[in-house]
Amino acid sequence: MLVLNILLAGLLTGAIYGLMALGLSVIFGVIRVVNFAHGEMMVAGMYVAIVLNARWGVDPLLALPLVAALLFAAGYLLQRGLINRLIDRPHYNQFLVLLAIAILLTSSTLMIFGPDARNAQVGYAFDSYELGGLLLDKVRAIAALGALAGVAALWAFFSLTRTGKAIRACADNRLGAQVVGLDVKRLYAVTFGLGAACVGATGCLLLLFVDVQPYLASDYTLLAFIIVILGGLGSMPGALLGGVLVGVSEALAGFFIDPSLKSMFSFGLLILVLLVRPQGLLGRAA
């Protein structure tokens, strides 16, 4: 029963990881730029929610729309102002640009908030549901549901709206999209904004049961990479599957072996997938 509980917790955490990775996957899948500042953007968003919570007692769930909108704007401006000019540069150059942005974000949060871990206070932090003997944390359940809603909203956006379809056209064939008159640069900016909004929303959800600290940012970036590669870069269901796989394997490894070894399993899994199936579990071969 304990194992089932841990499995369930891993599954729920995995769904949240999935939304975070989805942001990275969307950005790479469309713009072909690897966002090395992904975790850093999330942590910056988490601090916004922390301030709202500490100052006015705002629940992170209520702060979520605001944080997501803020990060959308930041991502849109970043793409519009900077990354759009670097699209045709070699990938090591883009990599260093995003890395520099990551350093700027981490050091900014460090300068403003200091190195100590902070957490948000919510009244229902220790509530739980009981389902036929299974214990279900209320915060984790809410966060996972929120993440799934986010994934569904993004999916609907990409398959139903005109802008979403236009973005998919850019991803399939940038030149073709330009030929038919799509404003590729604006669509790229919208895409980066959406990716950032995803990770901002994830930050608010994670804040329900996780402490935030400036130095944790790079760990989240790496985690998002592992998940996205596992599921397949650019594949939306893949990001969710990868998130759940990593969430469950971390929970099990943390329970059966040693919590400090849990990310070694993730990296081992990543190496295996990269070698055997580099397009990821659900990705299409390039």
């Binding site: 540069r89 890395l99 520099a100 700027l104 050091s107 300068m111 990296f267 990543l270 580099p278």
Partner: protein, 335 residues
């Protein structure tokens, strides 16, 4: 990127500049304080590691973001053999080179056999470095996460055989290594293998059509780069006398190592030197700034801002621009 031509001879101006820099570097310990020397040692480490990394990325076009792996393997092998069996540092360094080179060959062989390129290859190098970091965190023989310490002996007189001595010893040692790496890079890039690497970097399919065995050439680049990197790792171990997996194998280390050649200019001989100089001076002045303005993170912030500015505004690096300005290049570099 420009392909080196065998007829490229350094201009008289460039030779004079090189002579001047070298003379100043040799004379420095006579006048400089230990603090200045320790900063210079940091710079030389960065310059040397940049040269080693540049062989893979600059010449063969293989982006490694996991070079901390080879630093760590070199450092840990030499240090552990010294601590447990009293093996002299130089022999331990050879062992470290062998271990790192073997690791590089295995990683390279796996990824080239499975056709991994670009971003995927880069992510694989990160994955291996991080995997090894966590592995060493639990590797009791080398002290696991609580670290491996080398006995510190008297530092008064220089003992080159046992790698013990004042900062000046390490300064001259690293200076020699940087000069050696520079000469080796220059010889390689003008030799047959250098042209093979550049051909593969520009277009692997075309290179293979001409009969170049890209698999073996790329493996040679990884193995050589890893072995050279391990040398610096072994010396670092005896310079600092303590090793922690979380700092030696950290991804931040890999990034720092690659920023010097990228800032200076990828695939150029002068790039890693210029990049190391600029970034080390920058880092040190930011540390000095922190002692005046006590704000956590201001050092990293300024570093990030300058790095961003250089990478965005000078994508080819500072060295090609500087060489044009000082008219050091014998020919204008191609487009």
């Amino acid at each position: 990127m420009r392909i080196a031509a065998p007829s490229d001879r350094p201009s008289r101006r460039a030779l004079a500049a090189l002579g001047l820099v070298l003379a100043a570097a040799l004379a420095l310990p006579l006048v400089a304080s230990d603090y200045v020397l320790s900063v210079m040692v940091l710079m030389l480490f960065a310059a040397y590691l940049g040269q080693a990394w540049n062989i893979m990325m600059g010449y063969a076009g293989l982006l490694s973001i996991g070079h901390a792996l080879y630093v760590g393997l070199g450092a840990y092998t030499a240090a552990a053999l010294f601590v447990h069996y009293g093996l002299p540092p130089w022999l331990g360094m050879l062992a470290g080179m062998a271990v790192a080179s073997l690791a590089g060959t295995v990683i390279g062989a796996l990824s080239f056999r499975f056709g991994l390129t670009g971003v995927y290859f880069a992510l694989l190098t990160i994955a291996f470095a991080e995997f090894t970091r966590i592995l060493f965190d639990h590797f009791g023989w080398v002290g696991a996460s609580s670290g491996l310490f080398l006995p510190v002996k008297s530092l008064a007189h220089a003992d080159l055989v046992n790698l013990r001595g004042p900062p000046a010893l390490f300064y001259y040692l690293m200076l020699a290594l940087v000069a050696g790496a520079l000469a080796l890079s220059r010889a390689l890039i003008r030799g047959r293998i250098g042209f093979y690497w550049q051909a593969i970097r520009e277009d692997q399919d075309a290179a293979e059509a001409l009969g170049i065995d890209s698999f073996r050439c790329k493996l040679a680049a990884v193995a050589l780069s890893a072995a050279m990197t391990a040398v610096a790792g072994a010396i670092e171990a005896f310079y600092y006398n303590n090793l922690y997996p979380s700092s030696v194998f950290a991804i931040g280390n890999s990034v720092e190592l690659m920023s010097a050649p990228i800032v200076g200019g990828l695939g150029t001989l002068g790039g890693p030197l210029v990049g190391a100089f600029v970034l080390t001076i920058l880092g040190e002045s930011m540390t000095a700034l922190t002692s005046v303005v006590h704000i956590d993170g201001i050092k990293q912030w300024s570093y990030g801002a300058v790095l961003l500015a250089i990478v965005v505004l000078q994508p080819d690096g500072l060295w090609p621009w500087l060489a044009r300005r000082l008219k050091l290049a014998s020919r204008e570099p191609g487009p």
